[in-house]
């Protein structure tokens, strides 16, 4: 098989001194309320609880989520600063202790 891929797709773009980060994560985001159609039992909660965005090693946003965020969740945020080629990192942790992170270079004026 192909090499393991990050569960996070990430883009970061700088414009007029503000960097906008967009992240799409692969995750079921189960609320615990949904029933398994075959067994009739509730599918256990399984959702991302925390997403952290970092720029140059500094935390710029800490996001807390419930299972009320959609499946394959999306997050976008912006911060002042950032320049072409600098790194932005996004990582998540879910309620079962699962986690992942990914990094991307900022695209901006060279």
């Amino acid at each position: 098989m192909a090499k393991a891929k990050s569960s996070i797709k990430l883009r970061a773009k700088e414009k007029n001194g503000v960097t906008t980060v967009k992240a799409l994560m692969s995750h079921p985001m189960e609320t615990g309320q949904r029933k398994n159609k075959k067994t009739g039992e509730n599918i256990p909660e399984h959702f991302i609880q925390e997403v952290v965005g970092e720029y140059n090693g500094k935390v710029v946003i800490t996001t807390s989520w419930s299972g009320g965020v959609s499946k394959d969740p999306y997050l976008s945020f912006s911060f002042k600063g950032g320049a072409n080629g600098e790194m932005v990192k996004v990582s998540w942790t879910d309620n079962k202790g699962g986690s992942d992170s990914n990094e991307v270079k900022i695209k901006g004026k060279k």
Partner: protein
Amino acid sequence: MIDVKRRVFLKGSAAAGAVVAAAGAGLIAPQAVLAEWNEAAFRSKTVADAIKAQTGTDATEESADIKIKAPEIAENGAVVPVSVSSSIAGVTAISILAASNPSPMVASFALGESTVADVSTRIKMGKTGDVIALVQAGDKVYTAKKEVKVTIGGCGG
């Protein structure tokens, strides 16, 4: 590669200007970023309890300086795009609640000092109801709301 072929839509981003200006002037307080997942807020069954658990107060003030971008009618309650931005100075946290969900608190964002008060995500809504934005700045809590009609609920199958 992806960039060239991506669909692009023209749209105004009116809110952005004001927000950037606030950040530029260094008005955003260097409040520490929250850490712990706020169990009490997320498990609250009412909007009032959730707000209290999130902010520590129930004294909120409606503000016209909060913009909620969400569809009037959700195409599919399982995926409702919501953006919240604010031109209030010194925003440290933004939360999004879906008033008619069994647990209204859906997301909260703790912002760093250089972070712009403008966040987007996609949420589930079980039925028609208000999307409430909660903005914390200094020791004040501001709110705004927008109704989203839901025809296909997003909490069931």
